[in-house]
Symmetry: C2
Subunit: 204 residues, 2 copies
């Protein structure tokens, strides 16, 4: 059994977490790696019904996702989490709680609030800016961007395929998935990925 | 990857669910099968803090355990659940929700309330009978024994090793774990296990 890992997405609503989760899932399944996506909404339905969006309730929700992701990852699964997870402290708490038998790969979906508002696929930013949604991350609630994530993707400026390639390259270089050749962006990403991981103390 | 399964214990408090979970875990790990125990108390801490012991809250807790157990089992893990899970309806709901990629083996820890009260390891029955604990299953709250569980162990009348052997034999006959020879009770249990499984429509 290959070592499992948690691919922990964090980023504002609409920043591409779910889209990238599905893309990555596809690519990993092609490589024969078992995957489970713990999507923010789905997890709220199954594990956290009744919880709201206060800091306390968000933290509890994130801890639960972390608990389940860890159970999966330490059994060789790639657990992809796609919740906003706005707070440093609880993300770091989850990272610290992860078993030695599993890896943790924090991936920041970076996209400016201006771009998200302009795009506004679900019309949520408009409502939030009009004060119709309370505790809306990035508008009326804080979002703390990660300081040292294993991977950053700029979803407002690059095609999803490029973000996807960077994530896969990161997972390859960390040794969690076998390397394959042939994707369009992989070679381009290699240097930047290696630099980031070296700066974080990986890759010796 | 071998097909995973949920070993779903049900039974009154003190009926041996946790003890048997640990015994079974040991034996399965010896056979190289990945195991996770989702114990009632641990799951309450990690997934269901804030929930009480009303029927509604118990049901929510059981659904959450079922959700996580299914995620594990469909990735080849043996997920052992050890919550009282007193109600038919929600146990059957969990059974029905289990993925085609996973098995479900309901195992009833049968032990009379008289024996549990006489033994009363944690002193809980005494308190419950004195009215000091509300919603105590079997005393002040209902327990609905399963009608057609895949396995029944009589934890008030037989040594834990015998219960353990019957469960392992059941898992072997259902094809979830490889058969091994050499345990003391296995041969004795074989006929009874086969009869039960045949009655339930397994084993062709």
């Amino acid at each position: 059994m290959k070592k499992g890992f948690i691919l922990w997405f964090t980023g504002l609503s609409g920043s591409g977490k779910s889209t990238l989760s599905k893309l990555i899932e596809e690519r990993l399944l092609e490589r024969g790696i078992p995957v489970e996506i713990l999507d923010g909404d789905e997890v709220r339905t199954n594990l956290s019904k009744g919880l709201g969006f206060s800091k306390e309730d968000r933290d509890i929700n994130i801890r639960r996702i972390g608990y389940v992701a860890n159970l999966l990852a330490r059994n060789g699964v790639c657990a992809i989490t796609a919740a906003i997870s706005p707070y440093h402290a609880v993300r770091d708490e989850v990272r610290a709680s992860v078993d030695g038998r599993a890896g943790f790969v924090e991936t920041y979906c970076e996209c400016s609030i201006e771009k998200l508002t302009a795009r506004d696929v679900k019309g949520l930013y408009k409502k939030a800016l009009a004060g119709e949604i309370k505790n809306f991350t990035g508008v009326s609630d804080p979002y703390e961007a990660p300081l040292n994530p294993e991977c950053v993707v700029h979803t407002g400026d690059e095609p999803a395929e490029q973000s996807c390639a960077r994530i896969l390259k990161t997972l390859e270089m960390l040794g969690y998935i076998p390397a394959v050749v042939g994707d369009d962006y992989g070679a381009l990403e290699e240097k930047a990925v290696a630099e980031r991981l070296r700066d974080l103390g990986y890759l010796g």
